[in-house]
């Protein structure tokens, strides 16, 4: 596939947004359970969620660049019964709405608003409830986004649970790295907490991403030139595709890059997304350097762009069998 930058930005940005929110809410929930000290500079979760929201909005904007007819985007919610894309389109604003509400509740420290007040005086804060809903929405969104790719069965590189898992873990990891960075400014006492989680998730993502690389390297393609045109012969060569200066079939589905370029891209993203941020997190936390932590996030985000580019480029669409030679 030819990587579409709008989609790369969409998926990576909302990934960060989702992860950032999850980090905020994890912190919030931990502190509600008193595992973490309750953050007194009350706006931390609120501001953090707003940052998440900024990323989500960024992703949304990027997504519009992918649409030929953005003015009709509203129509895309119609097919939620069958289309993961439609579902994504529904879940994304829902999630953003929830994150927005959550951000307001926490930013203004409306801790008193509760859904349920027990006799013992402990109360179930509204913000926590909204947070749970947003968390669920976030995971739903990860699933939707991942399934958009994973559900196309003949794109064999994508058609795997690993696609969804990677989308989720990579998004969450990048969000936690961002949260680590953010906390180093706004709540240094939480930095280590976030850093540890960020490292763990990044590491987990590394494992699953490598697993998917391993899997994809061993795919046996079901479609061949023989099945594509229905002729059995070991030597079949296309001589003309019917037009000579390209069409959507050559523009959208071919990355037009050399194998070496692809391979380099793989090593670049593997380095930028996993070991480098891990090291930078460690260094940043050890030396309490916000600068290095920002750097960790930026490096990882750039790595994710490369990862997503590679994700697209690596996918061999069976339609390409029909478009081998001008």
């Amino acid at each position: 596939m030819n990587p579409a930058f709008s989609v790369i930005f969409l998926t990576t940005l909302i990934g960060v947004g989702q992860g950032m929110f999850l980090a905020m809410y994890t912190g919030h929930a931990y502190s509600a359970l008193n595992i973490l000290p309750f953050e007194t500079s009350a706006s931390f979760y609120g501001v953090g969620s707003m940052i998440a929201l900024v990323f989500l909005v960024g992703g949304l904007i990027a997504s519009f660049f992918h649409l030929g007819r953005p003015e009709r985007a509203w129509r895309s919610a119609a097919r939620w019964r069958t289309s993961w894309l439609s579902r994504e389109v529904i879940v994304l604003p829902l999630f953003m709405g929830l994150v927005g509400i959550y951000a307001i509740l926490t930013y203004f420290s409306w801790w008193d608003l509760s859904v349920y007040q027990s006799a013992s005086g402990s109360n179930l804060q509204l913000s926590l409830v909204i947070g749970v809903m947003a968390t669920l929405a976030s995971f739903a969104l990860f699933i939707c986004t991942g399934m958009i790719y994973a559900c196309i069965k003949f794109l064999q590189e994508w058609a795997s649970p690993l696609t969804v898992i990677n989308y989720t873990l990579l998004g969450v990891a990048s969000g936690f790295v961002l949260a680590t960075t953010f906390s180093s400014y706004a709540a240094p006492e939480l930095t280590q907490f976030y850093a540890v989680w960020a490292a763990i998730i990044t590491f987990a993502a590394m494992l699953t991403r490598i697993a998917s690389l391993y899997r994809n390297a061993r795919i046996k393609f079901k479609s061949t030139i023989q099945t594509a045109i229905g002729i059995r012969h070991t030597k079949i060569k296309q001589k003309a595709m019917g037009f000579m200066a390209g069409s959507v079939n050559t523009r959208d589905f071919f990355h037009n890059q050399s194998q070496i370029f692809i391979k380099n891209m793989k090593w670049i993203f593997l380095t930028l997304v996993f070991p480098l941020p891990l090291i930078l997190l460690w260094v940043g936390v050890t030396y309490s350097s916000s600068g290095i932590l920002i750097f960790a996030f930026v490096v990882q985000y750039i790595g994710l762009i490369a990862e997503r580019w590679f994700f697209f480029a690596q996918a061999n669409h069976p339609q390409n069998l029909y478009y081998q030679t001008i």
Binding site: K237, K239, G242, F243, M244, A245
Partner: protein
């Protein structure tokens, strides 16, 4: 499902439907044009048209993009003072000025030396009118594209069987069981051939293709027989060898309908060596083969008059006449001729295995003999014998330029005609069948003028500008035996040049050989590009000046519809209409679209008004002829005879009162007659009402064996298709050719070739076909240039003229040189890599594409895809000029000087057919440092005044396109 857009709802607009005839190519299918609000909505095949039965081709269906192409010329143009030819700097002038310029110039030429006006036309199909204009003007210097196209095919077959392929006749695939296609990629009969081929295959027919390349039609053949280019003659002669050896020939057919059994004098010493022995039966009219030959009868073992009641002749043997002359039946001579052409010999030459050659012969012979068809159609032969049935030997052939475009093509094609004859397949079911007005006498009656005296000032030419010489006396040469025509057609260099030699006109005119001319009018031919050999040099000649600074070719007029390469070299440009904008006829006087079953002609009727100031060339000719007061266009009182072209078509008669005119249908005052009848003022309306086509279906009994069918011949004579109702016996043995040979040997009284050409004539005018290497090959170092280079017609492009077509050019945007991987790898040329192809005459840089579908000794490309920068209104960086290339730069119009002479055309020595496919090349990779673009490149051609603007993007929608669509803006460039 809630649908926002109802897919069944047609867009609004006023719909009109009109019929006319396509001219995206010379096939001339019937089309139905649907217009919406005056713009073309859709062009489809007319289901009621006999030629295409409703189908259409890629070009035909892209007519819209031709109609609205920005490359269209819309105004008469004059070369700007001081600008060089080729610079394409023009100013707009009016039509009245244009006519004044032409009138003045031509009037002067006609009154002084009519030869100095040369009219040559390319891919047109209106030679009846253009030829007539030339004749009336009085210039012999007229020809259409035939000489550089396929005159070998016409001449080789017409001089043998009285008919030919394409419009003239073709394979009867309805009934054939075995079909052999030789050297054909697309041909003129595009749609009908495809329709028939598919039907044939579905009926279970077996299809064999003989071609160095497997594409298009050949792709669906049951068997592909790759052959080395230029060697088909060898293959065919070997097939004849094998058929005779095994007795798989149709003896009865040969005896009755050919000159196989006729006795030829073989006395080497005598002056009639190689001529038929004749009885003293009085000779018949001039253009017919007199029925005065002799057989050797088996029963009585003596010479008898040919076709005598109950006689049965020997086909083989040697006999002594009463007067002691040694004689042999023509068939014996054929047998002797093919003796040495064994399959073993041919395998060497053609690259086809001995087994395959033998098997092909057996397949043909056995199918012809054992799968005979008997149709219950009674007919009477011209000798009065009744037949209850029509027999067919269902082996059909079709061949085209793969045979024709070689300088040995005439003899290869004669060999093919003889192969078809030996199998007994001429004008019979399942074999070859004629189309009216064929068969013609062998050779046809029309003769070229004979001497200088036939060209006189202010007088029509005495004779037809083009014709069919039957003997040296019919040549068009002066007292010294030197050519009179500028292209040297009908001279001793190319005696049977029945279609002229358009490919030599520019070179000869430039060299002023045999004389300088003044005005060259080119219609519908891209002579500065794809229809010239040696294109780069020809472009220089077109612009070349003498010491005084005068152009070697003083004045060039070009009538074209588009901004072609040729237009750049014009002094005067006449913007033609498109086929959707003009009246036109596919006339009986010309090349009608007849069917096997009978004559068919058709017309074009405009479906829309001419764009800008475009004027049909037909109208230009009528206007000019009237202004010049050419007799056929002028009343006795000197007034103009015809208002316009439609008027001319209706009212013109070949001779006053002859009742014969351009169109055969609805003649007679009330439209009740056909073929012959007085002019009908409503003829156009009748055609319009009838799908623009007139079809006459002859009775079944007239549809076969027409060379000898009394019913048919009488009918044809009555309807003036033929002058004489005489049998047209097949010339297995060609006495016509022998007459030239005898002249060259000095054995005749009459005209003899100049000394320098004696040997050439003696060698190539052989009464029986023989194989020789193409002339260019003979003169090439085959070690150095080991490969043959040929072109093929792409089905989705017509010559050079479809690159202005936005849809078609997406299919063929540029071209590759296709090379067998083994051949390419041996030279280090990579797939998709840049490479050089070099011949003795020039070189070209192009892109390579490996192909397993080409014989390893051949490289090829699609014809005329490459373009000169800026031509056809394409941008300077268009792929056509950047990556596309033209093979013509490698092909010379003249052979290297050799012992037979200087400046001898690269053509068949018999007919003057251009030897396009004879060129030999070598290949090697381009240096990686070299530019990644094709070579040679030419100075970009600017946009001509009156052409359209090119847009980044078009969205054609009929009814809105030139009106209010966002992409419109049709302002002419350069205004």
């Amino acid at each position: 499902m809630a649908v926002v857009h109802d897919p069944l709802k047609a867009p609004k607009g006023c719909i009109e439907v009109k019929n006319t005839t396509c001219y995206m190519c010379a096939c001339r299918c019937g089309i139905r044009v649907t217009l919406r609000d005056g713009e073309v909505r859709y062009i489809e095949g007319n289901p009621d048209h006999p030629l295409n039965n409703g189908v259409i081709c890629a070009k035909g269906a892209s007519g819209i993009m031709k109609q609205y192409s920005p490359a269209r010329l819309t105004k008469p143009l004059r070369r700007k003072e001081g600008a060089d030819r080729g610079d394409a700097e023009f100013e707009v002038i009016s039509w009245s000025e244009t006519f004044e310029i032409m009138e003045e110039r031509l009037k002067h030429i006609r009154a002084t030396d009519p030869k100095k006006f040369a009219l040559f036309t390319g891919r047109d199909q209106m030679q009846a009118l253009t030829g007539m204009f030339a004749k009336q003007f009085g210039t012999p210097n007229y020809a259409a594209h035939g000489g550089f196209c396929s005159v070998n095919m016409a001449a080789g077959m017409i001089y043998t069987i009285g008919g030919s392929f394409w419009e003239f006749g073709g394979p009867d695939l309805e009934r054939a069981k075995l079909f052999i296609m030789i050297g054909t990629a697309e041909d003129h009969h595009s749609n009908p051939l495809k329709i028939e081929l598919a039907k044939f295959k579905r009926q279970g027919g077996r299809f064999i293709t003989i071609n160095p390349i497997r594409t298009g039609y050949s792709a669906i053949a049951d068997e592909w027989v790759p052959i080395k280019p230029g060697t088909d003659g060898a293959l065919i002669l070997a097939l004849i060898h094998e058929l005779i050896k095994t007795g798989l020939y149709d003896r009865d057919f040969l005896v009755q309908y050919t000159n196989a059994a006729e006795l030829v004098s073989t006395d080497q010493a005598s002056d009639d060596e190689g001529l038929f022995v004749r009885t003293d039966i009085p000779r018949d009219p001039d253009c017919f083969d007199p029925q005065d030959k002799v057989w050797w009868d088996i029963k009585n073992d003596k010479a008898v008059a040919a076709r005598e009641e109950n006689a049965d002749p020997y086909l083989l043997g040697e006999f002594t006449m009463a007067d002691g002359r040694l004689v042999k039946p023509a068939f014996q001579l054929l047998k002797e001729r093919v003796e040495s052409y064994s399959p073993d010999w041919a395998a060497e030459v053609t690259g086809i295995s001995v087994e395959t050659i033998k098997r092909l012969a057996y397949e043909m012979g056995i199918t012809a003999r054992d799968e005979k068809i008997e149709l219950p159609i009674a007919w009477t032969d011209v000798w009065g014998k009744d037949h209850d049935t029509v027999t067919g030997n269902p082996v059909a052939f079709h061949a085209m330029r793969g045979l024709a475009a070689h300088s040995n093509g005439f003899h290869s094609i004669r060999a093919l005609s003889i192969l078809m004859t030996v199998l007994g397949t001429i004008d019979r079911p399942g074999g070859f069948r004629h189309k009216a007005p064929f068969p013609r006498p062998i050779p046809p009656c029309a003769k070229p003028p004979k001497s200088e005296d036939d060209v006189k000032v202010n007088t029509p030419l005495n004779g037809m500008p083009l014709g069919w010489p039957a003997s040296p006396e019919d040549l068009f040469v002066d007292d010294n035996g030197e050519p009179i025509r500028i292209d040297k057609a009908f001279s001793w260099e190319y005696p049977l040049a029945a279609h002229g030699l358009m490919h030599n006109v520019i070179t000869n005119a430039w060299r002023q050989d045999p004389y300088p001319i003044d005005t060259l009018l080119i219609f519908m031919a891209n002579m500065a590009w794809n229809s010239s050999m040696n294109t780069s040099e020809v472009r220089k000649m077109l612009n070349d000046k003498d010491e005084q600074g005068n152009y070697k070719i003083p004045f060039i007029i070009v009538c074209d519809a588009f901004q072609s390469e040729m237009v750049a070299y014009a002094d005067l440009v006449l913007p033609d209409t498109t086929y959707l904008e003009r009246h036109d006829v596919m006339s009986m006087l010309d090349r009608p679209i007849s069917e096997f079953e009978g004559p068919v002609d058709s017309v074009r009727i405009p479906v829309m008004p001419p764009k800008g100031e475009c004027k049909p060339f037909q109208e230009v000719l009528i206007e000019l002829a009237s202004r010049l007061k050419l007799p056929a266009f002028t009343n006795d009182d000197g007034s103009r005879k015809f208002n316009d072209y439609p008027d001319f078509i209706v009212n013109y008669e070949t001779e006053p009162g002859s009742g014969i005119g351009f169109l055969a249908g609805w003649r007679g005052a009330d439209g009740e007659e056909f073929m012959k009848g007085e002019p009908n003022p409503n003829q156009w309306e009748m055609y319009e009402k009838n799908n623009c086509v007139y079809q006459y279906e002859m009775p079944k009994s007239f549809q076969y064996m027409r060379n000898w069918n009394r019913g048919y011949l009488n009918w044809a004579q009555e309807h003036r298709l033929l002058r004489y109702a005489e049998p047209i016996n097949i010339h297995l043995y060609s006495e016509v050719l022998q007459k030239f040979k005898l002249a060259a040997q000095g054995k005749t009284e009459g005209r003899q070739p100049p000394e320098k050409l004696r040997k050439r004539i003696e060698q190539y005018f052989d009464p029986l076909p023989f194989y020789y290497e193409p002339l260019e090959t003979q003169l090439t170092d085959k070690q150095e240039f080991p490969l043959n280079a040929v072109t093929q017609r792409p089905m989705a492009m017509y010559h050079s003229w479809d690159s202005q077509n936005a849809w078609l050019r997406q299919i063929h945007t540029y071209n590759y040189l296709y090379v067998n991987p083994k051949t390419a790898q041996a030279k280090g040329v990579e797939d998709e890599g840049w490479m050089w192809v070099e011949s003795m005459h020039g070189k070209v840089r192009c892109l390579c594409r490996y192909s397993e579908a080409v014989e390893p000794g051949t490289v090829w490309t699609w014809n005329a895809i490459g373009k000169s920068k800026g031509a056809w209104r394409l941008s300077g960086d268009a792929n056509e000029s950047e990556k596309g290339f033209l093979l013509n730069h490698l092909i010379a119009e003249q052979l290297p000087n050799h012992e037979l002479g200087e400046n001898i055309s690269n053509s068949d020595p018999v007919t003057g057919q251009a030897g396009w496919y004879d060129v030999r090349v070598k290949i090697y990779p381009a240096d990686p440092e070299e530019e990644k673009s094709s070579w040679p490149q030419f100075k970009p051609m600017p946009a001509l005044p009156g052409t359209g603007n090119i847009k980044k993007c078009i969205g054609y929608f009929a009814g809105l396109f030139t009106k209010d669509s966002p992409e419109k803006s049709d302002k002419g460039a350069g205004e």
